[in-house]
């Protein structure tokens, strides 16, 4: 369901801020092209027809002052109107998503509402189609910037401050976002996905995400769960519904449902999960996650199977 160009300002989602910005850009490009064409034509005319007398005052005042002043004033007003529409008013019933930038991943938190508990996940946001959603941005370390080119302009995430962004998409799809402010060694591997989906599917997804982890069973699953705790993973990771309540790494309660791991670095499957657990420092050097040499090959597959069962 991924868009053909999931991370392009040139292919904005319908109904999004990015598409309003795209239209504004188009007005500027076309307007500039028309002016260039007229000026070139006049210059060409002057060269071809040779010297003759013109009303200098009329050309200077009309063409040099009144015309550009009118055009620039109109563009200014148009840009102000577009800019204002991008910062739509928030209202109480609006869905609010908190996103915190961290070196080098994104913590995503959906506020509790209507008896549904809070949902915490990482590196993936879902939004309902056709509805503006408020995203509240912060950072727990350095300055990051939240940018989904096909949906909206970039907004900085500043430690100690809360910035905001309204996002809306009318076209379903998986859009890719990326940190747009250099934030350290792995800035380039700090991406995320925004899934825009019909309201009913979104509600199902959010309800699921707010629930504790699924307790499935199987020959690989239960030993994998034990290995997770034996290996000390719970010191940094939370799996709601178990005793794992670490806070420095991503919440793994529904990690198996995500599109990617390591902040958009790897597609999510049993192989990449095992590879990431054993050797994150080769994939993303200097990230907080340490290499783990304590698992045998078979254990690694088991641990990975348990995590992927957390859908």
């Amino acid at each position: 369901m991924s868009a053909a160009r999931p991370q392009s300002t040139l292919d904005p989602a319908t109904g999004s801020s990015a598409s309003a910005i795209d239209e504004l850009g188009l007005v500027l490009y076309v307007g500039a092209a028309v002016i260039l064409a007229v000026v070139s034509l006049l210059a060409l005319l002057g060269v071809l027809t040779g010297p003759r007398s013109v009303n200098a005052r009329r050309w200077l005042i009309g063409g040099g002052l009144i015309l550009p002043a009118t055009i620039l004033a109109a563009l200014f007003v148009h840009a102000l109107i577009v800019g204002n529409s991008l910062m739509a008013k928030t209202h109480a019933s609006m869905l609010r998503i908190h996103v915190t930038g961290k070196q080098w991943w994104w913590e995503v938190r959906y506020e509790s509402a209507d008896g549904r508990p809070e949902a915490v996940l990482a590196n993936e946001l879902h939004i309902p189609l056709g509805r503006p959603v408020e995203i509240l941005l912060g950072s727990s370390d350095v300055i990051h910037s939240f940018w989904v080119p096909a949906l909206a302009g970039k907004v900085d995430m500043i430690p100690g401050r809360e910035t905001r962004l309204i996002v809306r998409a009318d076209r379903a799809g998986v859009y890719r976002g990326q940190c747009a402010e250099y934030c350290g060694a792995q800035h380039a591997l700090m991406a995320f996905h925004v899934v825009a989906e019909p309201a009913a599917r979104f509600d199902t997804w959010l309800t699921r995400q707010s629930q504790p982890a699924i307790q499935s069973t199987g020959p690989q699953i239960e030993p994998g769960r034990d290995l997770f705790f034996r290996g000390g993973c719970a010191a940094c990771h939370t799996v709601r519904g178990t005793e794992a309540a670490g806070r420095s790494g991503p919440d793994l309660t529904h990690v198996g449902s995500r599109h990617a791991i390591a902040a958009g670095t790897l597609r999510n499957h049993v192989g990449t999960m095992a590879g990431w657990i054993a050797g994150p420092q080769d994939i993303k050097p200097a990230s907080l996650m340490p290499n783990s040499a304590e698992y045998t090959g078979a254990e690694l597959r088991t641990l990975s199977a348990w995590l992927m069962s957390l859908e």
Binding site: H269, G271, T272, A274, G275, D282, G297, R301
Partner: protein
């Protein structure tokens, strides 16, 4: 009658394929590179990227393939063994790519549901 001739044709094809594999396996030590029947190195490269084998392996020519969990896959044609226990021949490699845990339960290498043709493509790329 028709059935019989078809069976003969089938077994002949299989025989030829096996013979080809056998011939290819010897090539490693000499002047001939192993050829994986039906394998396409270009498609193999795409499959290695799609399955993200680079999360665990260092693989020349694959962007971001810098994992150290599994062995590096450079100069695979020079490798004597697969998984430290099987002879490095195309048929075995294809089997290993598809069903590593079944061939060696202790391995970290997962079964990712790679198809026969994808495995042949990947093998073709690794022997290239």
């Amino acid at each position: 009658m028709k059935l019989l001739s078809r069976q003969i044709l089938f077994s002949e094809t299989c025989g030829m394929a096996l013979a080809a594999l056998a011939v290819c396996a010897c090539g490693r030590s000499g002047d001939m590179e192993p050829v994986v029947v039906g394998g396409d190195a270009g498609r193999g490269r795409a499959a290695l990227i799609a399955y993200e084998c680079g999360a665990c392996h260092r693989i020349p020519g694959i962007p971001g393939a810098r994992g150290n969990v599994g062995p590096p896959l450079d100069d695979f044609v020079e490798r004597v063994n697969i998984a430290g226990r099987y002879a490095n021949d195309p048929a075995r490699l294809v089997d290993w790519i598809r069903h590593a845990p079944a061939l060696k339960p202790q391995t970290a290498m997962p079964d990712l549901g790679v198809s026969e043709i994808e495995a042949r493509d990947i093998a073709a790329y690794l022997y290239e």
